[in-house]
């Protein structure tokens, strides 16, 4: 059974702030979902050797002019300084 502490830790890992009462309701819900999905252990039969999905590679080449999309992309940024995204300092 998943604990409230584990839920809080997961939320921290996923960078989502949750309140104390939500940690408890999430614990209950996620516990019942995990209980349901553990049915997967009933699977019978052999899996195929060939994987369902494969990587498709492309050449690493220039696809557009430098600066072509800069303004469009940066105009969506919550904080910018010139052509940079603005974030808080992480090193003192």
């Amino acid at each position: 059974m998943i604990t409230k502490e584990e839920i809080k830790n997961l939320a921290q890992l996923a960078r989502i702030e949750i309140k104390e009462d939500e940690a408890e309701s999430l614990r209950k819900e996620i516990d019942s979902i995990l209980d349901y999905v553990s049915k997967i252990n009933e699977i019978s039969g052999d899996s195929e050797d060939k994987p369902v999905l494969k990587n498709v590679m492309r050449d690493d080449e220039i696809t557009h002019k430098s600066g072509e999309f800069t303004e469009d992309l940066l105009s969506n940024a919550p904080g910018r300084e010139g052509n940079y995204l603005k974030v808080k300092k992480i090193l003192e």
């Binding site: 998943i2 989502i16 996620i30 979902i33 999905v37 009933e42 699977i43 899996s47 492309r58 919550p78």
Partner: protein
């Protein structure tokens, strides 16, 4: 002039546009009038675009120049998780509420080439996570057959756009049933194509190995028209397929029915009765039906609720309040992240991100994600084997009709509505939901649907059998 929208289809409208029975502007205006009348109650569109008539005018110009494309001048509704350059797209989430798309999704590019007219963006569950559109940050969409009930989801807005005559065709996206289940709840046609048939470029990602864009329409012919317009290989999506990727399947008109799945608890008695009538109808049309055993089909939901949250938790890591979308300020960068994501994501999205983070975390990875991948491969093999004996696998689309808004509060009980649709996503098969009549609940007639699945790459077979079923 007044255009009769009730009986109008894409195919008919195209003919009438070419014959100048009405103009694209008149057609678009007719839909705008309907939207004006009904959108407040039904909450179908999150935004009606300001340039609809301009787009229609451009279409009229092409028509008068003698151009004719299957979607020229046709008013369409687009789910709010597909990008149109210069327009807002929010995935019905607070975290993207004011985000403006910087490019066109490949499907939009293709529709623009045909001169389609985009009416607006339709409501859906937040990040397409849900089966009722109740998880939208902007309120639920109401079912036009009974406004006290849900539209289904996650593409609920697109479904009601069609059922309430608020668009002639719509795009939805389907990760576990999000096109087919609302189509069934609203009495329309919904197609989830083969995985890779339609490019995902410009679709806001949920579960990338499961997501598909597809058409929602009144008729099979219309679904075919939209699919033809939007499908094709795309260098922007390396998972797209070509016509040659999968072999063409020869149909012997045989239909397999996994009765073990249909006869379980939780499937409404009236849904079963309606399904049995549909089976009889298909038999009278010359189809042979047989009980097929897919031993692990009942595990579809369990597989899905491991793989989907795992992929979603990775995909949604990009929403950090730095590059775009909502930003909520904290005392340091870490707190910026925590507050932005804590405020911006709604309850279902948080639940799935945490679930995905859990199943991918060390110590649990093999027990959940690893096991689910193996199970996925086993299920795919079971379907490959089944299609050696039959041409179609048939089920009801959903185990229940549309429920009352607010009636279901337990997430797991909503997940169970996907029990029939989910396997097509896990296996990557094309599947279509087709209206199969109604059932009476509290003096209202609620639509039901049946679902055909066909071998990979064989959408034409789905169109053929569905047209026969609907006598289209």
């Amino acid at each position: 002039m007044k255009v009769d929208l009730d009986s109008l289809t894409i195919a008919k409208a195209r003919k009438m546009l070419d014959e100048k029975k009405f103009s694209a502007v008149e057609l678009a205006q007719s839909y705008l009038d309907e939207i004006e009348k009904k959108n407040k109650e039904l909450n179908v569109y999150l935004e009606v675009f300001g340039d609809v008539l301009e787009q229609a005018k451009a279409a009229d110009k092409l028509i008068s120049d003698g151009e004719s494309y299957p979607l020229l001048g046709i008013p369409l509704a687009i789910k709010d998780n597909i990008l149109l350059q210069g327009k807002k797209v929010s995935a019905a989430s607070k975290i993207l509420e004011n985000y403006v798309a910087t490019y066109d999704a490949t499907v939009i590019e293709k529709l623009k080439k045909q001169g389609a007219v985009f009416l607006g963006r339709t409501n859906c569950d937040e990040f397409a996570m849900g089966g009722s559109t109740e998880n939208s940050a902007f309120g639920p969409t109401r079912n036009s057959n009974d406004p006290s009930r849900v539209a289904g989801g996650s593409s609920g807005g697109s479904a009601v756009a069609i059922s309430a005559n608020l668009a002639l065709g719509a795009l939805g996206s389907d990760t576990g049933g999000s096109i087919r289940e609302p189509a069934s709840f609203c009495g329309i046609v919904g197609l989830k194509p083969t995985y890779g048939r339609v490019s995902r470029n410009g679709l806001i990602a949920m579960g990338s190995s499961l997501d598909c864009i597809g058409p929602m329409t009144k008729t099979i012919e219309d679904a075919e028209i939209i699919l033809n317009a939007i499908s094709g290989e795309d260098k922007e999506d390396s998972t797209t397929i070509t016509d040659l990727t999968y072999p063409k399947h020869k149909s012997n008109k045989s239909i397999g029915i996994p009765w073990n799945l249909i006869n379980q608890d939780g499937v409404d008695q009236k849904v079963k009765e309606n399904f049995k009538e549909s089976v009889k109808k298909l038999e009278s049309l010359g189809y042979k039906t047989k009980d097929i055993s897919l031993p692990n089909i009942g595990l579809g939901l369990a597989i899905y609720y491991i793989i989907m949250p795992a992929e979603a938790s990775s995909n949604l890591a990009r929403f950090d309040g730095v590059k775009y979308g909502l930003h909520v300020d904290g005392k340091d960068l870490l707190e910026d992240y925590l507050k932005t994501r804590g405020t911006g994501f709604g309850p279902e999205v948080r639940r799935r991100i945490l679930l995905g983070t859990y199943v991918l975390s060390s110590g649990y990875y093999d027990a959940y994600y690893g096991k689910a991948q193996t199970a996925r491969s086993i299920l795919r093999k079971e379907f490959d084997d089944a299609f050696k004996q039959v041409d179609f696998v048939l089920t009801p689309t959903a185990p229940v009709p549309a429920w009352k808004i607010g009636e279901k509060s337990d997430p797991l009980s909503i997940y169970l509505a996907d029990v029939f649709t989910i396997t097509a996503n896990i296996v990557g098969l094309p599947a279509i939901s087709v209206p199969s009549g109604t059932m009476e609940v509290l003096k209202k007639n609620l639509p039901l649907g049946i679902q055909f699945m066909a071998p990979h790459g064989n959408e034409e077979l789905l169109f053929e059998v569905s047209k026969k079923f609907l006598q289209e």
